[in-house]
Structure formats: structure tokens, C-alpha cells
């Protein structure tokens, strides 16, 4: 972090962003000159962003490393935690393999689904475009535990609705079994597909279709164009998406916990779960497990950096104007439209229908005449009468919007540093910004409470500490969204702005940010939506009177009120869909292309 900022500073001082730092000639006034440049607006802005990002990432990482390597007497370094975490009967190897298979499968499914959908949405004249909006949001909004539970009710081999209502009467078999690795990949992949979709929509928007058109004109067949032109051009976004989803699947426990355990499919995170549930908690072992994930994630970041090494190849946003023109689907149009409907049914309608259905019941039971006649709106009135419902909604909005805005602003600056400068240490910075993704939420919460309880600033016990926590947690996501957008930007735009006399800040604000806005808005929406359900660090850090929605959800969950929880989930879907449509409308007013229109 310190390295990076030292190097960006002189670079920034040259006033020609984008070309990298050249060695400064030694001169008597060098130090004074350096100081003056550092104190320039740009120096402060870039340096400040780098320092903040570094600080956000280092606090939990330092805490984790400290707990992992400190020996039991607290005086020296020890590797005992690793043998406790991976040795003995831990089956760490087979669990890791399970995890990798699950994570690779989910990431691949989500990548294919999200990319295909994004292509159809942005580049074709498919019907039902409005449905994409819901399909890209709803799976993100529904908390993982509800989404997975909905799928249990749908795909249980004996009582699942899909088996009993569709396959059993029609084919006489019950082939769907959600409690398998394939079931897990299916649910996780569907849950994650919106992440890819949001990223890829932004990438397709920023891509000049004339490149494909010229390839086609030169006689390339459709597949060749796809393989040689389209896919390579989208590499930064696709790599970013795969990395995010792979690591997130590796790190999540909702789906493996609910679907995998039933048939004894254990994953890596079940070890972490066990370690964190015991008392006294073995923080060393938990840290050692997290560091295992960190190594995998770091390898992923380095690999993605290497894959993007010749960055000029992907720069599709150049000084040339273009307007993405939709492909005429022709005879395929009804088929594509049907596919869209099916996808929408499977990812949105089915799970949400289960939630709505459950929210009208007193307790969950498979649909029958008896359950249908006992339906009522009681659960909704209970939600509305929760004493904290409105405080929590307000606080969730404040923290969610705050974190989404802060993260996207910070990461758009930092991704500029990483991709546009030759500052030494920029890779480290990129890596550092990715580390929070593998830090267990509880450890993040402990690290933050540790630091802010000892800091004289009034942050502990206020909403600010939640804001800091969310900013840390979603930094990796913001970073992927921003750098995917930045990678498509050609430096010639900045250069021409600089030549025309624009300052760095003017260039950044008037040229880069607007061009990246599609990607930035996608990241913003993602962070806003997922921050509504962040619980693992929130539960330790919130204070009475500063409740957020996820705390209420947790309470209902803990209290066994599944049907009330379902009602709360339905309300959340409604509120966030409304909120995000407003965001897109506002975005459209400021010159963005709306996601629902187009």
C-alpha cells in the first residue's frame, strides 16, 4: 500500500495520466517539488483513495494473520494452527476437492448463464427485455437461506413440488434431487448468475460491435466471430466475473450447508463453521483455514492479472464513437423469447412463488386443498407491526447506499492506479483489495470492534462502523466491477483530454467516470442489494437503535418464524426492486442507458 502510493504520487504529478512514471532526475529542489505535487488535488485524491483502500483491507488481514501465527503463549510465531486446521481427521483434502468442484461448477454455470443473458439483453432484439431486470436482481435480493430453502421445497426427491407435480404424473419418475453436488451447483449458479449478468451487460455496452461486423464482412463465420472477436474482447469482464464467483462459492456455506450436508457432502467452509461454533473459538485454526482460501484467491487474482497482461487488446472504448446496434434475431426470435421466459420462470417466479406461498401460511406444507384454504395475510401484518421494521429499513438504506457509493468511488480511482500507472506495488494493491472476500464475517467484525473500541473517534456503536464493515466486505466486488470497466477504456481518451488542457480531475470526472458509468452503476446496484442481507459482521457490530434489516431477518429466523421470514423476504424483494428501478431511472437521466429500456 505504502509502496503503491509512493509511486503513484510522482506519476500523478506529471499531469499526463496514463503513461506511467518515469524516473525523476535528481535535483536540489526535488524534495520540495515532490512535496508540492503530493499536495496537489490529484495527489491527495489518488493517494487518499489508495490509503483508505489499503487501510480497509489491512485491518482485518492483520488481525487474521496475527491470530493465526501467534503461538499459544503469545510470544512467538507458530504454525500449530495449520496442523489443527488441516491435520488429523479433518479430511481437509477431500473437503477442498468438494469445494473446488462445487465452486468451479457454480462459477461456470453462472458465467455461461449470465453472459448469454447479457448478450441477449444488450445485443439482440429479443422480446420481453423487461424481464431481464427482475431476473438480474431477484436472486440477489432473496437471502441465501431463503433461496436454498425454496429450492428444497421445489426439488426434494420425495416431497418436492417439481417431482410431485410435474415429473411424477407425467413420467412416473422423480429424477430431481436437490441434495446432490449437481443440485448445489444449480442453486448456487442461479443465485450467482446475476453477478455475471450485471458485469457482462456493462461490458457488452462498452463494446464496439463494428469489430464483429468487420470480421463478419471479411467472411468470418458466426462461430469464428464469437470465438476470435467477441469472447476475447470480453476477457477482462469474464475473468473478473469468474474470479468473483469462484471465490465466493468457495467461501459460502448457505447452499452447501442446507443442500450438501444431507447426503454428507462436506465442503471446506464446513470446517470454518465448526471451528467458529465451538467455545472457546480456535481463532488460529479459523485463520489458518481462511488463509488457505486466501492463497487460492491470490492465485486467482494473479492469474487474472496475467491473462489480462496485454491490456490493449481489450480496450474497446476508444475515441471513435459507436452505438451498439441490436442483432436481428430473425426466425430465432420466438425461440430466444421462449428461453428468456423459461429462465425467468425458473430463477425468479418459482423461488419467489414458493416464498409468497409460504408467507401466506402458518407453517410450511406442500400445497393441498387444506393449506390453500388456510391462507392469510397474518404474516404480513406481523411484519408491519414489528417495532423496529421502519428504523431498520431506514438504517439499511443509509448504510447500503453509503457503502455502495463509497466503494464504487474508491475502487474506480484505485482501479485507475492499478491499470493505468506503472506504480510499483500496484499488483499488491489489487491483491490487497481482494483479500476481504475470504475473511470470515465474524473475524472481520472482531477486527473492526477491536480497532474502533480503542480509537478515540466516535465510530464504535454508531452506523459508521457498519459502513466501514460493508465497505471492507464489498471492496473486492467493487474492485472487480471497476477494473473490468476500466480495462475497456483506451488511454487515448485521457490523453486527448489532457492535450485539450483538462486537468487530471476534470478528465477523471468528465471522461472516465461517465464512460465507466455502466460498470460502476452495476457494481453499485450489486453492493446495495447484497448489503441488505449482510449479517455475519453486522450482528457483532450493530447497536440497539441502529438495527438494520438483516438483524430483523436473523431474529425471525432464530425464532423459528419461517413463514414470517418469508413475508419479510417478499417485502424486501419489492422494496429493492423499486429502489433499483429508481436508481436506473436516475442513471438514465444522467446520460446512462437504462437496463430495463434499450
Amino acid at each position: 500500500m505504502a509502496l503503491a502510493s509512493t509511486a503513484t504520487a510522482p506519476q500523478g504529478g506529471q499531469g499526463t495520466p496514463g503513461t506511467g512514471a518515469s524516473p525523476e532526475p535528481a535535483s536540489p529542489g526535488r524534495f520540495a517539488g515532490l512535496l508540492r505535487r503530493l499536495l496537489s488535488f490529484q495527489g491527495l485524491l489518488v493517494g487518499g483513495a489508495v490509503v483508505i483502500v489499503g487501510y480497509l483491507a489491512l485491518v482485518p488481514l492483520g488481525y487474521l494473520i496475527h491470530d493465526t501465527f501467534l503461538n499459544s503463549t503469545g510470544t512467538g510465531v507458530s504454525f500449530g494452527a495449520f496442523s489443527r486446521a488441516y491435520g488429523g481427521n479433518s479430511q481437509a483434502g477431500s473437503m477442498m476437492l468438494n469445494s473446488l468442484g462445487f465452486a468451479l461448477g457454480s462459477a461456470a454455470l453462472a458465467l455461461v448463464l449470465g453472459t448469454v443473458l447479457a448478450y441477449i439483453q444488450v445485443r439482440t432484439d429479443t422480446p420481453f427485455k423487461g424481464l431481464f431486470f427482475a431476473a438480474s436482481l431477484v436472486p440477489l435480493i432473496v437471502p441465501g437461506i431463503l433461496y436454498a430453502t425454496s429450492w428444497i421445497f421445489l426439488g426434494d426427491p420425495s416431497s418436492g413440488v417439481i417431482n410431485t407435480l410435474i415429473f411424477q404424473p407425467l413420467f412416473g419418475t422423480a429424477p430431481v434431487n436437490i441434495f446432490s453436488v449437481w443440485g448445489m451447483i444449480w442453486v448456487q449458479g442461479l443465485h450467482l448468475a446475476p453477478v455475471t449478468f450485471l458485469l457482462m451487460v456493462a461490458a457488452f455496452r462498452a463494446m464496439d460491435p463494428s469489430l464483429e461486423e468487420s470480421a463478419a464482412m471479411s467472411g468470418a463465420r458466426r462461430l469464428t466471430v464469437l470465438r476470435r472477436i467477441t469472447v476475447p474482447l470480453l476477457r477482462p469482464a469474464m475473468i473478473s466475473a469468474s474470479l468473483l464467483m469462484f471465490v465466493q462459492s468457495l467461501e459460502s456455506f448457505e447452499v452447501p450447508g442446507l443442500l450438501g450436508l444431507q447426503n454428507g457432502i462436506y465442503v471446506f467452509t464446513s470446517r470454518i463453521y465448526f471451528v467458529l461454533r465451538a467455545y472457546p473459538i480456535d481463532y488460529g485454526a479459523a485463520g489458518a483455514l481462511a488463509i488457505g482460501l486466501l492463497v487460492i484467491a491470490a492465485a486467482g487474482v494473479l492469474l487474472s492479472g496475467w491473462l489480462q497482461r496485454s491490456s490493449r487488446n481489450f480496450q474497446t472504448v476508444t475515441g471513435k464513437a459507436f452505438r451498439p446496434r441490436p442483432v436481428d434475431l430473425g426466425r430465432a426470435r420466438p425461440w430466444v423469447g421462449a428461453g428468456v421466459i423459461v429462465y425467468f420462470l425458473v430463477t425468479v417466479v418459482l423461488p419467489v412463488a414458493v416464498l409468497v406461498y409460504a408467507s401466506l401460511l402458518k407453517y410450511y406444507a406442500a400445497p393441498s386443498r387444506k393449506t390453500l384454504s388456510s391462507m392469510s395475510l397474518e404474516n404480513y401484518s406481523e411484519v408491519l407491526h414489528m417495532p423496529l421494521a421502519f428504523t431498520a429499513l431506514k438504517n439499511s438504506l443509509i448504510v447500503g447506499i453509503g457503502a455502495a457509493t463509497a466503494v464504487m468511488l474508491l475502487t474506480s480511482i484505485v482501479s485507475w492506479v492499478v491499470l493505468r500507472t506503472r506504480a510499483p506495488g500496484r499488483r499488491v494493491l489489487d491483491l490487497l483489495a481482494f483479500t476481504p472476500i475470504v475473511i470470515p464475517g465474524l473475524v472481520l467484525g472482531l477486527a473492526l470492534s477491536f480497532v474502533y473500541l480503542r480509537m478515540p473517534l466516535p465510530i464504535y456503536g454508531t452506523l459508521l462502523i457498519l459502513l466501514v464493515s460493508y465497505c471492507t466486505r464489498y471492496l473486492p466486488y467493487g474492485m472487480r466491477y471497476s477494473s473490468a470497466a476500466m480495462a475497456q477504456m483506451s488511454p487515448e481518451l485521457e490523453e486527448s483530454a489532457a492535450v485539450s488542457g483538462a486537468s487530471w480531475f476534470q478528465t477523471f470526472r468528465r471522461v472516465l467516470l461517465p464512460l465507466m458509468s455502466s460498470g460502476i452503476l452495476a457494481g453499485w446496484v450489486y453492493i446495495l442489494v447484497v448489503s441488505f442481507r449482510e449479517l455475519s459482521s453486522t450482528i457483532l457490530l450493530y447497536s440497539p437503535g441502529k438495527e438494520v434489516l438483516s438483524v430483523l431477518i436473523w431474529e425471525q429466523f432464530e425464532n423459528g418464524q419461517f413463514t414470517t421470514l418469508a413475508a419479510l423476504g417478499v417485502c424486501m424483494v419489492l422494496i429493492l426492486v423499486l429502489l433499483v428501478s429508481i436508481a436506473y431511472r436516475l442513471g438514465a437521466r444522467f446520460g446512462l442507458q437504462g437496463d430495463s429500456s434499450n
Partner: protein
Amino acid sequence: MRHGALTAGLVAAGLILTGCGSSPTTQSPGGQAADTDPYAPYASLTGQARTDKLLADAKKDGAQIDLYTSNTDIQDLVDGFKKAYPEIKVNAFRANSETVLQRISQENQANKPQNDVVDTNDIELRALDSQGLLKPYTGPAAAGLKDAAKGLGGWTAERFNAFVIGWNTNLVKKGQEPKSFADLADPRWKGRLSVEIGDWDWYASMHTYLTEEQGMSQSDADDLFKRIAANVKVTKGHTVQGELLSAGQFAVALSVYSHTVDKAAKKGAPVAWRPVVEPVILRPNGVGLMSHPRHPAAALLWTDWVLGDGQKAIAESLRIPAATSVPGFQDPIPAGTTTYSFSKSAETDGKRWSADYDALLRGVPKAG
């Protein structure tokens, strides 16, 4: 800038590295515990005089109380307390028991205690007590409590949770119910039983009951658990477990709370836990007065009420109150049922029990 960034980085790293010189969970605020008892001024008071004095002092302290709790029915208690003392505002931090423990430990290590009273599970209360963070309750309400609720050290039980074996009455017909824990090893239950992945404390109690009370050898008890484990499906979270039991996704849940089943049955779900499969495992949940409260009078007022009149609210939420007699309360556990509570050994061995339970569910040999 160079120096600024470097300093910021070093400060951040240094703050972390030097600050947590000891494990964050085990240390108590050194030396501070030896000072005066904040509750001493009220120790000799009883009856209306006590209540009046506590109320007056509580108002002087800001008329509020900071309560940390993992009790999911806390709202019933807060509402009841508000009715009794409308002047006092209750700030309740609600979280799971592990988090409550972490939060209190963290705040006390930083010498910034933020709560007056804690209401949580026995394991966490024992841990807090061993850190010297609790002061025993000696007020008048203690006289009305069951023996099992008293003499626990720095905390007092206010209610009991009962771990029972529950089943779906559509899938387990009358007369087919399990009669004993050992019955569940029968192959006819294959794939029809459910346990929760985090219930190592239930496992610890049941295992200790089998060896200490039933005189089983360690290896016989291990063997029985292994045969039962061959029949189970593992699920995550008691709520999901309860909901899936109602929905008929499995027939029997081995470790559910009686009040979860009772609440579901009250809504009409086809679930039951009686006739009882013995033993019912009773887990005391309690209230503890903090050693360093910011509102000591309000803390005592709350504790007096919870262990006294508040017991009625506990009974109404289908829990088992700690008081010997609560008007209108009918014990959900039939008279003469064998009950069992955690032995003292469980608290120190949390790590081992958890590791053993983990190994049992995965079907691998115990560690070490």
C-alpha cells in the same frame, strides 16, 4: 505523501499487531475487577423500599438500561418490563449467544463495558463468569426460584430450554414413535432422522448422560452414536430443521427445542414430542449482572422483575420458567420425566466436544 501513507499503514498494522498481545477471547480487564461492588448499596433493601430506591436511582442514571441478549423471546420481556416501569427505556442488543459473548469480551478488554445486564445461554454465561465479568444476584427474587436455577456462580437461571426428540405425526404413526434414544439406531430409521450441524452441546449432554447416568462405557456410547449417525440427515439451523420437520422432509428431529415444536403444533403443524423420549435435556438460560454496569440500579430493577413477575411472560412464550410457581403455568414436561442438565465438565471441553461431534457426523475417527 510517501511518509503519510507509510505512517498510516504502520499505524494501522501496529495498532493491530501490538494491540492484541493476548488472545481476544480469554483475557479479562486486568486488575479492574477488584474494585467496589456497584450493587452493594441496594443489598440490604427489600420490598417496596427496594423498588422505590432502585427506580429513583435508575431515573437519576438516565432512566435506561443496556441489555445484551440472545433470548429470541426478549420482546415479550421488554414489553412486560415497560408495562411495569414505563419510565425506564430498555436498549436491547440481540444476537446469537456466541456473538453476545464475543461482544462483551471485546468491550471489556478495551475497558469500555457497554452493557448492564446479559441474558443468554449457560455456556456463554459460564465463560463470562470465568472472566470475572459478572456479579452474583442476591436480591429477594432468588428465594422463589428452583434449586437448579441458583448457585451457578455469577449468574442466575431465568428459564430452561428443553432439548427433546420431536417427530412428524404424519410420518410416524401413533404407536410407532421412538421409545428410547437407543431405538433410533434401528435401521428402520435410516434416512429419516435429522440432527443440526452445530448442536455439539446437545451431543455433549447426551453423551455424558449415557456414560455418567446410564453407566454406559465410553466405547458403547460412541458406538451407539455411530449407529444413530448412520441414520441421520444433517441440516443447518434449528428453524430450517423445524420447518422441514413440519413439511415432512424427515420424520424425526433428534435435538429440537420443546417450545419450537409446541409453537408449530399450536399453529396446526403435524408435529409432536410427547410421549417423551427420555431424557429431556434441560439447558438453563440465565441473566447476569455485569461487574461494571453503567446503570446499576436499572440492572437490578430488571433482574428483580425478570426473576419475579417476569416469569409469567416466560411461561406465556411456552418456555419453562425458573420460578418454582408461576400462576397459570403448566409444565410442558410431564411429571416424572427424567431430565438432565449439562455436567460441569462440558464447559471446559467445548473444543473437544465440538471436534468429536464434527468427526461423528462426517463418519471419521475422533481426533487425538
